[in-house]
Symmetry: C2
Subunit: 387 residues, 2 copies
């Protein structure tokens, strides 16, 4: 347990990671003080969280939801609105830790405000680094912020890295469950449904990230994220399929030694670790029992059946604005798949076509990224009109 008080704000508190973060905070108890919670449209969930967790203030991105919240609740703290409101909550100098748990590209700007304020930022929003890693990391350095990934894979790498020198790293080995279609033949992937794709074998997550797990784009994002979080070249970041999701990722060092972080799959561990880092606190989660499991299995990741993984590596090698376009096209394609507008196998082709079509910027500014994100979405949307 930490003796010193830590003030935490949770951006995207009504999502999957956000709600779990509030649970972890309430279990950690008094040294952890909740400052801001924020949402996009789910103002009723936010109102319930206000009742239960007593934050200092709230921010609501959607204007209608903001109005509805103000009318329906008697919350007496500050109530902010829009992206500006979220950014203001993120930048609040009272914050020690900002948990950035918004879904998709919408997390980029508020997260950047938390970084510019020099906070410790727990990043559950991988699109932020995928889209804007190249401009975000210099800001982390410039403003003395600390960026901690909250997904299980990067938390695993971070846990394996404490006490080690960056110079001693040889390679990251990121594990992938393989998703619900790990053993589905290539020919059958065209016919898989959104309902099938949403049945993830090991992790309970939001819809968008669950589809990204099914295409392995999620793993591609994690490779990109690892590249920026730990400043390691793409060719030194490998992906291996490990269906049990017990090993959450590994670091291989220059002496051939490999460190792995393991455990029963639960987001509670990486969430709490981002809050207690670099220390730990008691956490009541099921314990790993390898003798009962009997075995852990591994297989190569198949970039032919899952071209999203290949596209992510390609975008990372290309650098510049490619990550932003990849992410924007993916968000549009996944949404279209969830709405039954396109086939599962159209997701990678929409991304590839968007990447080919959009202008490539080697050193985009944040404004250029925001604009390119919008343009990429518009172009990708035109591609979703045929199944």
């Amino acid at each position: 347990m930490e003796a010193a008080q830590r003030t935490i704000s949770v951006l995207g508190s009504t999502g999957s990671i956000g709600t779990q973060t509030l649970d972890v905070l309430s279990r950690l108890g008094p040294p952890y003080q909740l400052r801001w919670i924020t949402c996009n449209t789910r103002w009723q969930d936010l109102a319930a969280q206000v009742e239960r967790f007593k934050p200092y203030g709230v921010a609501i991105r959607d204007a209608d939801a903001y109005t509805a919240f103000k009318q329906a609740t008697s919350f007496s703290g500050p109530i902010l609105c829009g992206e500006e409101g979220l950014s203001q909550a993120a930048a609040d100098p009272e914050n020690d830790v900002v948990m950035s748990a918004m879904v998709g590209f919408s997390g980029v700007v508020p997260t950047m405000h938390a970084i510019r304020a020099g906070h410790q930022v727990g990043l559950a929003n991988k699109e932020t680094l995928v889209s804007a890693g190249q401009i975000m990391l210099p800001a982390v350095e410039q403003f003395g912020a600390t960026l901690l990934a909250v997904d299980s894979e990067h938390s695993a790498i971070l846990q394996c890295m404490v006490g080690e020198r960056t110079a001693d790293i040889d390679r990251f080995i990121i594990t992938a469950s393989g998703g619900p279609f790990r053993t589905t033949p290539a020919a059958d992937l065209e016919r898989v449904t959104a309902a099938q794709a949403l049945k993830h074998p090991n992790w309970s997550m939001g819809a968008k990230i669950t589809i990204d797990s099914a295409t392995l784009m999620n793993k591609g994002f994690e490779v990109m994220e690892a590249r920026w979080l730990f400043d390691l070249e793409p060719d030194r970041i490998d992906v291996i399929v490990h269906p049990q999701s017990i090993i959450h990722s590994m670091v291989e060092f220059i002496d051939g030694s490999v460190k792995a972080q393991m455990g029963v799959p639960t987001m509670l561990v990486p969430i709490q670790y981002a809050l207690t880092f670099p220390h730990r606190a008691e956490l009541d989660v099921p314990r790993m029992d390898l003798a009962a499991l009997g075995q852990l299995t591994f297989e190569p990741a198949d970039q032919d059946r899952f071209p999203c993984l290949r596209l992510a590596y390609e975008a990372l090698r290309e650098g510049g604005s490619a990550g932003c376009v990849l992410n924007a096209a993916n968000e549009v394609a996944v949404q279209a798949f969830l709405e039954r507008k396109i086939l599962f196998t159209r997701i990678p082709t929409i991304i590839e076509e968007t990447l080919s079509h959009m202008e490539h910027l080697s050193h985009p500014s944040l404004d250029a990224i925001v604009e390119l994100d919008q343009e990429s979405r518009e172009f990708a949307s035109t591609l979703t009109l045929r199944p």
Copy 2:
């Protein structure tokens, strides 16, 4: 690579760990200077090492071997004799790191001299802690020494511990290959031969330690060693059988997170790590390839078929002089088994009978330990007269 020069002495340089240490040192190159090398009887091997590795001096425990070495070689550096000579080499103030790689109880006194001199001690000799852990650890603290285990299991724990707080540890999980008789039914263990026992599935080691692996006493010793190296209660140190020996051991933390250290089985990694600690250096060893391996398997350790493991836990819970008696009786019984004097299944019964017979000292001195070791050997020897 280290920029600063490090001066290393290797006690037991002609043994399995000793020769590998010299190989690692020669590959690490100039910053690492070899000071003393020592042997018991193998003076000819020592003479060859003198030629190749150019140490400052040598120490030879056996008086006849000492005389033979002096007569046969023209080595111009200091040549010391007897346990006193080894202890003098161990205590040399020029040493930065002393690698304690002698076999069995003979390592205790020289290792203690290295500790009292405040050196960083790489401990490949597990009998030292098994016999004298309770008196050795306070000395480590008193004289500001650093004790690093060189076997793969404790090196794994050490690697998982860097950057972590001791207070955050919940449990150690030490892996065991299971040895050559992992799947041998209890009824067949009586008839196994020394030749069968010497065929270890994964590790190439000395004869004594290979038999200890076959009985799982080696694992029991490692539990005892972990208890003293990291000051964790016996009931928080588990053993799990993992036949592939890829995971070398694990640490479970209070938040349910587990860190494991992995790699292709080779002693070169823990040996080099003890020399370069807390950093790492390039090492040309085969790299782990989990996708090619396909699976890692795990099963509970069977204390009924392998009573030596149970006896080690019991001796550890009893504390005081029990570890010394356990170790002495085990050395005698293993030697008798290697000489075909007793059956494999007599090893644990000889140890158990010796433990029951010998006096128990709660807080023995080093002198009392040395004396009890001798008495335990004598008593255990009488038990080897029947098969």
